[in-house]
């Protein structure tokens, strides 16, 4: 590179040509500057090689899908310990109730057995499900008890209520419960049906 202008001193070479009075030195490129350029190029090559050829690292979709799945698991876990108060609060949240209603009313879901008006009847005929709009509850009428039976089904799942947790997921279960609860008032009296199974220990019910 220096074959053209060997400069005996350290003085920068001034090129001869003059453009409208402007002249140019021909300084060497600063080393630190060259170094940053080389570093950026090397980084490109190494990073690309690692990701595409060596297959290191995950794709964006895999990362985000996993993060969201983990959050869902954590949410479900949190839902396990949901309280009566939280479920009542949810029943006052219109968005949750609306979503619960949509699930409830879907063909083949809750509506098939409990009826569109939650009475357990359709046009006077009795449906397989129990009424949900009255104050009598076979398996317990506190919000958490209702929540549990929607999740796990009736104690003997071969008869009566099916378990919905796997199919709907915890979030939609909670929304359906919110919808059911929206037909009731917090603090209203709850009676147990005559054919209610014996009460489990209260601590276990929670």
């Amino acid at each position: 590179m220096d074959s053209k202008q060997p400069s005996p001193t350290n003085e920068p070479v001034l090129r001869e040509h003059v453009y409208d009075g402007i002249q140019e030195y021909d300084q060497k490129l600063p080393n630190w500057w060259l170094f940053t350029l080389y570093l950026a190029i090397a980084y490109f090559v190494i990073h690309w090689l690692c990701y595409y050829q060596l297959g290191l690292g995950s794709s964006d979709e895999m990362v985000i899908d996993q993060a969201i799945a983990e959050m869902q698991v954590a949410r479900d876990k949190q839902m396990e310990s949901i309280t009566d108060e939280q479920l009542w609060a949810l029943s006052r949240d219109t968005a949750a109730v609306e979503a619960g209603k949509a699930t409830f009313m879907t063909q083949g879901m809750c509506v098939s057995c409990h009826g569109p008006d939650l009475s357990g009847t359709l046009g006077g005929a009795k449906l397989p499900g129990l009424p949900l709009s009255d104050k009598e509850w076979k398996h317990g009428g506190t919000p958490t008890e209702i929540f549990k039976i929607v999740r796990k089904g009736s104690p003997d799942v071969t008869k009566g209520m099916a378990a919905w947790e796997l199919m709907l997921g915890m979030k939609r279960v909670s929304e359906v419960v919110a919808f059911v609860l929206s037909h009731h008032k917090e603090g209203e009296p709850v009676t147990r049906a005559a054919d209610s199974p014996p009460l489990a220990a209260p601590a276990a019910a929670k």
């Binding site: 590179m1 053209k4 409208d20 490129l29």
Partner: protein, 796 residues
């Protein structure tokens, strides 16, 4: 032409057109800044959305277009016309073309000032102007190009100075970018659909948008710096060698960096990675320009104290350095996850536009005015005042935007202790940045005040002098010695062979299937080593070739074009396959019903995209706030795409998902945003209620959509109109239930229909795709998209 080289002739430069462009730039600069201060005020005071045509969504494009094309455009032309004549030692190619260029450009600006507030917009940033104006811009640009190259052709200076290299790059690249990004099919005299859609439109848009910054706001101004800075400092340029390296690396690398505007989105990963890496590699070439500017002042730093021109130039170059350091930083995906869609980006562009462009312009005008009007600058003190108030204004602006962007980004990402819920609503974050948006108005206002002081100072200067056109005795160049290089000399030589060989091998590494890619990389490294060895041995032949190239303007132009065209081709062509519906893998958007399409066009023309994105990134906070991340297929039929670049309001990609919001909510919100979202700063859109939507052009619009490959079934005009009206009636009936009376043919129902459609998609059958993939094993050397050939994904 006289026979001897020594014969001298007097030449009068065309300085009239320089004066014209300069005055136009000063006036439109003021207009652009005033518009900026006004729309920045609207962010805090929604009451300033005084009328339909004065809403933020319509005025923001006016501000950006005025700043880029009217202010910097005219400034650039003034600088180019002044310096090119002197560097070529001849008058501009044609006086008539110069005049057509000037008046044509001003007419375009006037047309933009009228059409943008009327809501006539293509809906792509800095490419909003409607198609007839696009045609005019292209024609005037060609006029400019012809005039410029005519000047080069008849020049009396054999060799091209570095400033001219940058002008050449500007002219060819802007022509290419502008034409490709504005390709569209008209549906009427004022409306058209761009031929690209979805992700491909995004890619073309940011290839254009990013390089509007590069080749409209950077390269011509670097050229101007290379002429005016050494002139003002009366010092030689720091390094010719640095000029060569930074020019070529800048023009080659810049083009690739566009995808960094769409990081963490549905844009394929390999394009995102190219965007990031090329942005990082761009840091050094950009700083090469800064170094050459700053170090030219070595030995003349004392002038910084006394000469306002030098002050402006040095501050401008420093802002350029700051801005081009910040750019690569913002391109890093992790940083971008926080900064993108926030005010940080806005601060970044303004440190460039005000600091680099604004101060280069001011320095150049202070230098030119006394020379063009043969007088002295009226007041150095006022120029110094301009400098200080302008500098403080920019700093205030930029710092406010840094704080605002980082704070809003952090607040949007904040989650509750269990990590399962977001802590702040979008409106909470908006309230938090309000004081900073206020500071921004003050900073911008200070810059504008400085500009007005300059106007006064220059006006007094001009009044004290008379316009003069410089006349010079010039030695006429004997033709036949320059511009003799043929195609063979241009392309077949060591430098070109080395560069092209390395390029092809690197492309092989990126695009060849597994096995061949590694082989190609190894070849590239060996080849690179051999090329460097060869260069060390024969560098003088390389230098001689380059010196010869500088004596040949057409080959130089061709090589510049080759350098800028490569990046675009490699990024855009493969996405033609990625973006076609049959290659989409998981989700594909549902077609817009006719009424929804009308609503979409209104959404675009109102400029909603200036504040609302439609792209949920693959980031946890985005997904938590707005829903499942956006897929590539979910905007595939969108002409234009509306991924957005700034969230002054929330993302709308899934606004229409079931159970989200009712029609009556949207109605009330559009009539008065604050009735539904207290403290929102969105303009009201009550005027949508009073206007009927455009039924007449709807069939044409659907027909154009079909031509663009959107699979609408065949429908006749009445059918289309009936469909639109039926849907309108349905929405109007729904609204009546909430005691809201709207016309079923109003723009209001169309926009509601569109908003309610956002986020609706069909699931694509996966098996069908798998079977298609199995068909035909590809030839081992046929190119593949890197994401498909990736080792880890292939094995899963």
């Amino acid at each position: 032409m006289t026979s001897t080289a020594a014969s001298k002739v007097p030449i009068e430069f065309n300085d009239k057109v320089v004066r014209q462009f300069m005055l136009a730039s000063i006036i439109f600069g003021g207009v652009a800044m005033l518009a900026g201060v006004f729309i920045a005020s609207q962010l805090n005071f929604h009451q300033l959305n005084l009328a339909e045509w004065m809403t933020f969504g319509r005025l923001r494009p006016l501000h950006t277009n005025a700043a880029i094309f009217a202010f910097v455009g005219n400034m650039m032309f003034a600088g180019i016309y002044y310096s090119t004549q002197r560097l070529c030692k001849c008058r501009m190619g044609s006086d008539r073309l110069s005049a057509i260029h000037f008046w044509g450009w001003q007419l375009i600006i006037v047309a933009a000032v009228i059409t943008l507030p009327l809501g006539l917009s293509r809906g792509k940033e800095y490419a909003e102007l409607i198609w007839p104006i696009n045609v005019a811009v292209a024609v005037i640009w060609v006029v400019f190009a012809v005039n410029f190259f005519l000047t080069l052709h008849k020049r009396n200076e054999p060799s091209l100075y570095v400033a001219l290299w940058f002008y050449i790059a500007t002219i060819v690249t802007v022509a290419m970018l502008y034409i490709v990004n504005h390709l569209s099919i008209p549906t009427s005299w004022t409306h058209s659909y761009g031929i690209f859609g979805g992700v491909q439109d995004g890619l073309v848009q940011w290839w254009y948008g990013h390089n509007a910054v590069a080749f409209f706001l950077t390269t011509p101004i670097l050229g101007i710096m290379y002429y005016f800075l050494p002139k003002a400092a009366e010092r030689p340029v720091y390094s010719y060698r640095l000029s060569i390296v930074h020019f070529w690396s800048l023009v080659f690398l810049y083009i690739w960096a566009g995808p960094h505007h769409m990081l963490n989105t549905a844009l394929p990963k390999w394009l995102q990675m190219l965007g990031v890496f090329f942005s990082l590699m761009l840091w050094a070439p950009s700083w090469g320009g800064m170094i050459n500017g700053l170090l030219t002042l070595r030995g003349a730093w004392d002038k910084l104290r006394t000469d306002p021109v030098i002050k402006f130039f040095i501050a401008a170059v420093t802002f350029y350095g700051m801005c081009t350091f910040e750019g690569p930083l913002l391109s890093i995906r992790a940083v971008n996850a926080l900064s993108h869609y926030s005010d940080w980006t806005i601060g970044h562009v303004h440190s460039g536009a005000l600091g680099w462009n604004g101060f280069m312009a001011a320095g150049m005008f202070y230098w030119l005015a006394p020379r063009l009007w043969n007088t002295k600058l009226y007041s150095v003190a006022l120029a110094n005042f301009h400098f200080w108030i302008g500098t403080l204004g920019i700093l205030l602006y930029v710092v406010a935007m840094w704080i605002s962007g980082i704070m809003q980004g952090l607040m949007l990402n904040q989650v509750t202790a269990d990590g399962l819920a977001l802590k702040n609503t979008f409106l909470d974050t908006l309230q938090a940045i309000r004081p900073l948006m206020g500071l921004r108005v003050i900073g911008g206002g200070m810059f504008l005040a400085g500009w007005l002081v300059m106007c006064y100072n220059l006006w007094r200067t001009i009044r004290s002098g008379t316009p003069v056109n410089e006349v010079r005795e010039v030695a006429v160049l004997q033709h036949g010695k320059t511009d003799t290089m043929g195609m063979k000399d241009t392309f077949f030589n060591d430098p070109m062979a080395c560069v092209m060989g390395a390029m092809i091998l690197i492309l092989g590494w990126i695009f060849l299937p597994p096995g061949a890619d590694i082989a190609s990389l190894i070849c590239a490294i060996v080849f690179g080593y051999l090329a460097v060895r060869r260069f060390q041995k024969t560098s003088h032949t390389w230098a001689n070739w380059y010196d010869r190239l500088l004596h040949n303007y057409l080959p130089f132009t061709v090589l510049t074009f080759v350098a800028v065209v490569i990046g675009g081709l490699i990024q855009i062509i493969p996405t033609i396959t990625v973006n076609s519906a049959k290659n989409v893998e998981d989700r594909i958007q549902k077609l817009y019903e006719p009424l929804e399409l009308v609503g979409r066009d209104i959404y675009v023309s109102e400029g909603c995209y200036n504040c609302h994105s439609q792209m949920i990134r693959t980031l946890v906070p985005d997904v938590m706030r707005y829903g499942d991340y956006s897929r590539l297929g979910e905007s595939i039929y969108d002409h234009p795409f509306q991924w957005g670049s700034k969230r002054t309001g929330p993302d709308l990609a899934r606004e229409g998902m079931v159970g989200q919001r009712s029609d009556s909510w949207h109605y009330a919100h559009l009539m008065d945003p604050r009735s539904m979202s207290p403290q929102s700063n969105m303009p009201p859109y009550a005027h949508l209620n009073t206007k009927a939507f455009d039924q007449k052009t709807l069939p044409t619009k659907i027909a154009v959509m079909r031509r663009l490959g959107v699979p609408y079934p065949p429908m006749d005009a009445t059918e289309i109109k009936m469909k639109a009206l039926e849907q309108g009636v349905k929405i109007a009936t729904e609204l009546k239930k909430s005691n809201i009376v709207v016309r079923p043919d109003s723009e209001m129902v169309a926009v509601i229909a569109y908003l309610q459609k956002l986020g609706h998609f069909d699931q694509v059958e996966v098996e069908e795709n798998l079977s298609r993939k199995g068909q035909g094993v590809p030839f081992p050397l046929s190119p593949v998209i890197p994401d498909k050939a990736r080792r880890a994904d292939g094995s899963k």
